[in-house]
Structures are given as structure tokens and as C-alpha cells.
Amino acid sequence: MENIFGHANYFIYIMLMMIGLYGMMAKKNLVKKLVGMNIFQWSLILFFVSIGAKDGGTIPIVEGAHGHGHGADLLIQASHYVNPLPHVLMLTAIVVGVGTTGVALAVLLNLYKKYKTLDEDEIIGKL
């Protein structure tokens, strides 16, 4: 049981990913597909960020840095701060996500201009 509770968060993130993935594959509307894609990517990001979470950790900005000038004497303990690395990675992933969404929307507008519909099946019918 302890195993399940300790991982409950992970399971919910994975469920979100499944929702997104399902939307991406099964929805026939092209915008819905993109909505699913964003849900998938953001839950992936959520999952990643949660890797860095730490019980008893605080935001990864050095406390009291301003008073110390160069701060060479400042003692920083790893257990005080959450892990910054996943945050960095996920900043990149968010940007990639918005880039992909932009390009996909550009293609989508082109598609709509040509076929006057957003439904995948109808477009296949008109190909």
C-alpha cells in the first residue's frame, strides 16, 4: 500500500498523459488533436518537474544572496532546495511545445483553406 501512496502522484500524471494521448489519436477534429497534444506534452512536463520535487525543499533561488556580495562564504545545502535541473529541461520542453503548436496551427489553417472542414474523415474523403 505504501508503494501505491508514495507513487500516487505519478499515477495521476500518467493518467493525464493517457488522456492526452487518447485525444491525439482518437479525436477526429484537427483542433482537438492539438488540444490533446498539448495536454500530453504538459502532463509530461508535469511529470518531469515532479521528479525534482523534494520534501522540505524550497524554490531554487539562493536565499540571502543579496546581502553577501560575492557570497563565497554562503553555505548552501542541497537538501534545502528543490532540484533545478528538471525545471531547466522543462523550460525548453515548453518552448518546444509552443513551437510545435504554432507550426501545426499554420498547417491547420492551410488545410482549412483547402478543404473547408476540420474533420479528419471529411478531409480524407476529399483527398
Binding site: G20, G23, N29, V31, G97, V98
Partner: protein, 81 residues
């Protein structure tokens, strides 16, 4: 971390995700997506990931939504599924 808050946020997030996919009105779907993203920001702030939350708030709830809304306005609002 406060697990009660966590739980409520997660429930809302899941609800938003399912809602965004189920709603037949594309604009509603997009707005639900923005809400999904915003709730996620709260979760991140709670985890201490302020930078990510900041970015997600400006990108996920902001720019991406703007793009989506433009796309929906330029195409059509109704969806069959």
C-alpha cells in the same frame, strides 16, 4: 506540500483535461485547456518550480491560447466530437 490542496488541484486538472477533449465547442475546449495549464502552474508553484510555472502561465495560458483562439476564429467553432 499540502496533500489536500494537491489532491483538489489534481482533480480539477483531470476534469479540465477530460473537459477540453469532450466539449463540442472548440472555443470552450481551448479555454478549458488554458484553465488546465493555469491549474498546473499552481501545482508547480507548490512544488517549488517557480520558473516553470511563470513560463507556463505566460505560454500555456497566454500565447498558446491566443494562437488557438485565432485558429478557431479563422476556421470553425463546432466540432463533431
Amino acid at each position: 506540500m499540502i496533500w489536500q490542496l494537491d489532491l483538489i488541484l489534481l482533480v480539477f486538472i483531470v476534469a479540465c483535461a477530460i473537459g477540453a477533449l469532450v466539449v463540442k465547442d472548440l472555443l470552450g475546449s481551448v479555454i478549458l485547456l488554458a484553465a488546465f495549464s493555469l491549474l498546473m502552474c499552481l501545482l508547480w508553484i507548490e512544488m517549488g518550480a517557480v520558473d516553470v510555472a511563470f513560463t507556463e502561465a505566460s505560454v500555456g495560458a497566454g500565447i498558446t491560447t491566443v494562437f488557438f483562439v485565432i485558429a478557431v476564429f479563422k476556421t470553425e467553432r463546432r466540432s463533431k466530437d
